[in-house]
């Protein structure tokens, strides 16, 4: 069970880290000026030159591969609900990294998700 929990932590942290890096990268690149093929190609060219996008790719690939490893070890009915723990990491990241104000209602939701994930993992 410990190895499942450790892999779940890696899956969630690498996935969230990858998404944050993509968000940073895309904010620096800016949106495509139009949907004309040349504009989209220029946009793709800017994305390819972004360090953040290259930083995100191995993290997202690692996250996907760790999901496959988790699915090889544990039942689907355990892995997918347990992956909801990313809501908890997301809320903590929003509060402590992005300095967002997280409402009491959102904390209540996060608390319910956390308790739900603990219950699901306890059946593993």
């Amino acid at each position: 069970m410990i190895k499942i929990i450790l892999m779940l932590v890696f899956f969630i942290c690498s996935g969230t880290g990858g998404e944050i890096a993509v968000t940073y990268g895309m904010k620096q690149i800016g949106e495509p000026k139009s949907f004309h093929p040349w504009a989209l190609l220029r946009f793709l060219g800017r994305a390819v030159r972004s360090g953040w996008v290259w930083f995100a790719l191995p993290l997202l690939a690692g996250s996907f591969y760790s999901l496959l490893i988790l699915l090889s070890w544990a039942p689907l009915s355990l892995v997918i609900p347990a992956s909801a723990a990313n809501y908890v990491v997301g809320a903590l990241g929003a509060k402590y990294i992005l300095k967002e104000k997280v409402t009491a209602r959102r904390w209540l939701g996060v608390g319910m998700v956390s308790f739900g994930v603990i219950l699901v993992l306890a059946t593993g």
Binding site: L68, L71, S77, L78, R106, G109, G111, M112, F115, T123
Partner: protein
Amino acid sequence: MTREHRLRVKTLLMVLLMVVCANLGDLILKVGMKQIGAVQMSAPGIWQALLSTIHNGTIWLGILFLIGYTLCYMTAVSWADYSYVMPAGAFGYALQTILAVSILHEVVVAKRWAGVSLIVLGVLLVGQTKPSTTDGSQATQ
């Protein structure tokens, strides 16, 4: 049919397609990993499993469904609010558990059902709060 009614119907259909793609994608990935077997936590074991996943058609089919999910999700949120699309994601956790029981014949005890129910309610609660709680242009998750 009014424009609003048309938008509602097509968004609902896109959200349904999104849920189907996400759940089928995960289900097919599980089937593919069952074919490959449990990954051994050693460098050769991880490398061997990586090669097996690359050469497994079932895994690629699962990935195709997950790409379909991403496209449906992007389309749905371009038509409707995130708070309208998001609850489908919450119910996906319950639907996935039902599929695991009915198709993969997994045994789900009452405690796991209770956990899944709490997760669904918690995700719904998180999604029903204001999407932005900061001043200026900062956006929340």
